[in-house]
Amino acid sequence: MNCKKAEKLFLRAHDGLLSEEESKELEKHIDSCLFCQKSRAEYKNIFDVLQKTDFPEPKPYFWERLRPRLNEQKFFEPWQAWKQWGLRAIPLSLLLVLFLASAILVFGPQPREEFSQSGVLLFEDQSPLQDTGTILDEEGVEDKNMMLIFASLEEQPGSRRPFP
């Protein structure tokens, strides 16, 4: 047996948890080991002091002092319950608001994009040049240019540039 195991055993012996065999083995080691003899004496010294701890009495008029505090507690109970749970609810509700806000941003209705007339025609799989095709085929060059200018101005009524 080494000194480490002996220390463990004599502490267990102090608690009355040692078998007879372990006791004999321990005594055999301690008889031959000065270090363990000293160590056991030191522990015994400590245990003696601990066991002699004086337990003073509680201060006088224990119940008389306690009774008004019970009633005082009754009065403060709703406020304390709020304090206990209400204060915990603040960060939780902030988290909830944050979560809802991000959910609305991600899954909420997206703003509809405005398309130009030619864009609409493209989405409808139609050529934006279809209306002007007949003009381009039939008229002379100057007329074609004038008609194309007026056609484009009709498409975008707000963008008409004043003549100089």
């Binding site: 220390e7 463990k8 502490l11 267990r12 608690d15 948890l17 160590s39 004496a41 030191e42 522990y43 015994k44 010294n45 400590i46 245990f47 002091v49 601990l50 066991q51 002699k52 701890t53 004086d54 337990f55 003073p56 009495e57 509680p58 201060k59 224990f62 119940w63 002092r65 306690l66 009774r67 505090r69 019970l70 507690q73 109970e77």
Partner: protein, 189 residues
């Protein structure tokens, strides 16, 4: 009126019945708080707070365990909370203990022995309050209060094997802290 009736009446809000329970258990609750704090003033405050807590928790007490066990559990948890807060703020005051006097022994010899014991107690108790909370608690429960392993295991909600190993470590830590002082103060046997 037996304890069960007293508990039942207290649950119904009868303060007189609760007063009898307080008188019965105040010393036990106080001693447990004292063994963990080693300060009479604080232990008294903690004992009062434990009885207030217990009074308001009584409606939840179903009587599965004994009332004393339930009360001890509250005391343990409340004192642990106090120690945790106090150690965070480093405010665990230590109170010097005094030995009791006997009149039949030789006065000088007795005084010398008492002074020696008081000095040793002071050193040991000062060392205990500097131990980490879990070691301090287990040492107080076992070596100051003398509670059996099973009760400590139940109170702290740990296995008896953990009680054994933690207690072993606590005792080793305490010895390491105080032996140099005890030798210096002439505390050797």
């Amino acid at each position: 009126m037996d304890e069960k009736d007293l508990v039942q009446k207290s649950q119904e809000g009868n303060e007189e019945a609760y007063g009898i329970l307080v008188e019965t258990y105040k010393t036990k609750v106080f001693n447990m708080a004292y063994s963990l704090t080693l300060n009479r003033e604080i232990a008294d405050d903690l004992a009062q707070e434990v009885f207030i807590k217990a009074y308001y928790a009584l409606p939840k007490f179903k009587g599965k365990a004994a009332f004393s066990t339930w009360l001890h559990q509250i005391t343990m948890n409340h004192t642990k909370d106090y120690l945790r807060k106090a150690s965070r703020m480093r405010q665990v005051p230590f109170e010097e203990t005094k030995g009791d006097l006997s009149t039949q022994e030789d006065k000088a010899e007795k005084r010398e022995r008492e002074e020696d014991l008081a000095q040793k107690k002071k050193i040991v108790h000062e060392a205990i309050v500097t131990l980490p909370e879990k070691y301090r608690i287990i040492l107080s429960l076992r070596d100051i209060q003398g509670l059996p392993y099973e009760e400590i295991s139940r109170l702290l909600n740990i296995s008896p094997g953990t009680v054994d190993s933690r207690l072993h470590r606590a005792r080793k830590m305490l010895k390491k802290k105080i032996i140099p002082f005890l030798e210096k103060e002439g505390g050797r046997q």
